[in-house]
Amino acid sequence: MDLSAINPILFVAGFLVAATPLIFAALGELVVEKSGTLNLGVEGMMITGAICGFATAVETGSPLLGFAAAAVGGALLSLLFAFLTQIALANQVASGLALTLFGLGLSALLGQSYVGIKPPRLPDINFGPLADIPVIGPILFTHDIILYLGVALVAGVWATLKFTRAGLILRAVGESHDAAHALGYKVVRIRTLAIMFGGACAGLGGAYISLIRVPQWTEGMTAGVGWIALALVVFASWKPWRLLLGAYLFGGITQLQLNLQGAGVAIPVEYLAMSPYLITIIVLVILSRDKSAAPACLGRTFHASS
């Protein structure tokens, strides 16, 4: 055993990257849930974003265009969910699961000719002398632009929800769609926009995996990140900054586990792998005292004349 082998600076920098797909996907879902809709199709939208982004980046040679295409792809797929749940008033749990199934199949079909290809690489931003600052430099100033976009988006969502009229309306719709409707807000339209935002974010998260973290395309490569994102939203009790913290915690546990193994610490891997989920449950129990956390209309179907 040699714990000195673990370099804390690289460890931190590592989980910042590992957490980024989670941040995107979970943040999108947070907005969706704030509007009172539960979309369990995150995994399906992520994997669709992963292939849309990958294919576009390969064809155009531009990773940034790839990310744009991933956002569009995710948002388009989420429209299916919006149609089912907002127009056809179908059950959200079942629609979300169906979306995941569909997305996994669709992405595999789209990706058939992209196996074994290396995508163009998105370079890290050059911060010049900032990157040379001890400790902080390598942790904070050695990443690609999308990673910073993720953090900025957290701040943006936080500010929007807290300070803007749009955020207020979104929350109102999530708390009581009937009241919001009575006040003249277009509940269906607002929720559809929220769902599309969620889809775009999930798509970006998926593309971050296929273009930066791995980078390659293989079927089913998101390997369950979308489900973890769902847990993370609850873990964060629908608060953007807590979500950021939670994503680092979730990402950090995997990194820590691998680091400990590398350092020769005999740890029961399966039990450590369970820990994020167990911690989420514990957090849920603690949070349950705070009844205001969850949007009151979460998962409920809205129909104007009812």
Binding site: A5, I6, N7, L10, F11, G14, A18, P21, A108, G111, Q112, V115, G116, I117, K118, I209, R213, V214, P215, Q216, T218, E219, G220, M221, T222, A223, G224, V225, T254, Q255, L258, N259, Q261, G262, A263, G264, A266, P268, V269, E270, A273
Partner: protein
């Protein structure tokens, strides 16, 4: 019991009706039908992808004398049993089942279709119409170990394992033995990913190993994630796994182990065609071409490359065995005496590290 007998006869007579009762097919159907059952999608870029390349090689070899069919992403258990039965009913003459977990289902279905040949990959149960085949990937690991031990400067070699099973442990031991041979100071850092397939986790594992000082990373997982991580780090050597991963050549990928099932599949289908098929247990390595060694790139120093090729040649012609004594187990007890080589039984069930590897095998 009576109904069971009836069903068996029914299944068998259905098979006969389709004209696949004998090996010769003098009875009308001209094309030899070959079935493949895959555990993953053919787009996995690794295990299943390579098996499917073998299938395409069979088609290329025999042209319109064969017809191949496949079903991908078949879960082990009852789903696989159903798919195999379906292929047999549809007139397959030989069925390749390409995952360890298909072992018992293959045996079950084979018992119901005595005239259909079955080929099960990586298992150990056989019958009159069931052969097994597997590849001696550990031979390739020996070459990787040699190159890794020669090229490491930090003397730390990282190893990404999937699950702690004999196949993987054998590879670790083989690589370690040959790395130590050329570099007595070398150490292995082993990280278990506990997944067959999760590219993001493989990327993490590779990064962690690199951060902890490894400048060579060996992987027993099939994605290119570790290659990309190594490329980003800049000075880390990697090896392709399952497929050549040539898109990362000449560096960081300096060589590779390629699963090459084509020669075997072509030979076995040929045997079915000319009626010479027999139940066999095949465990082929570099010599028979089942384990391909991807081109050793020029990033490898010339003399190391020469030694690696010599090692490859000696493994191929059988003059050298990757597990040759004297070797001790991790706990210091004797494994192989001077000049003794490991028998296949020991290799197949290998569940211990050799002397010098640190850490325990998780269980």
């Amino acid at each position: 019991m009576g109904i069971y007998m009836k069903l068996t006869t029914l299944l068998a007579s259905a098979a006969v009706a389709l004209g696949l009762a004998t090996t010769g097919y003098a009875d009308g159907h001209e094309k030899t039908k070959v079935g493949f059952v895959y555990v993953g999608p053919i787009g996995d870029g690794g295990w299943t992808y390579e098996h499917d390349k073998g299938r395409l090689a069979v088609e290329a070899e025999y042209g319109d004398k064969v017809e191949t069919v496949f079903v991908e992403s078949v879960a082990e258990g009852p789903d696989s049993e159903r798919v195999m039965t379906q292929m047999a009913l549809d007139g397959a003459d030989v069925i390749f089942t390409t995952s360890f977990g298909y072992m018992d289902p293959t045996i079950n279905v084979a018992a119901k279709f005595p005239d259909v040949k079955f080929e099960h990959a990586t298992g150990y149960k056989r019958a009159d119409n069931v052969s097994t085949y597997s590849a001696r990937f550990y031979e390739g690991r020996a070459i990787q170990g040699h190159i890794a031990g020669s090229m490491t400067k930090s003397n730390i070699i990282g190893y990404i394992g999937s699950y702690p099973i004999p196949e993987v442990i054998r590879g670790i031991n083989s690589a370690f033995i040959h790395a130590r041979k050329v570099n007595p100071d070398v150490e292995f850092k082993i990280v278990w990913a506990y997944t067959w397939f999760d590219p993001a986790k493989e990327a993490d594992a590779a990064k962690v190993l690199i951060e902890q000082g490894a400048d060579v990373v060996l992987q027993h997982t099939d994605s290119t994630a570790p290659q990309a991580a190594a490329q980003e780090a800049g000075n880390v050597v990697t090896f392709g796994q399952a497929s050549d991963m040539g898109q990362y050549a000449p560096f960081p990928r300096v060589s590779s182990i390629i699963d090459d099932w084509a020669p075997y599949y072509i030979a076995r289908v040929g045997a079915v065609m000319d009626g010479t098929w027999e139940s066999t247990d095949t465990w082929d390595g570099i010599g028979a071409g089942m384990v391909g060694i991807g081109e050793i790139s020029d990033a490898v120093p010339a003399e190391v490359k020469e030694q690696a090729l010599a090692l490859k040649a000696s493994l191929a012609d059988g003059s050298y065995h990757a597990f040759t004594g004297p070797l001790k187990k991790q706990d210091g007890s004797d494994f192989l005496a001077e000049g003794e080589t490991a028998d296949d039984g020991t290799l197949a069930g290998m569940n211990f590290y050799v002397e010098g590897i640190e850490g325990d095998i998780p269980n």
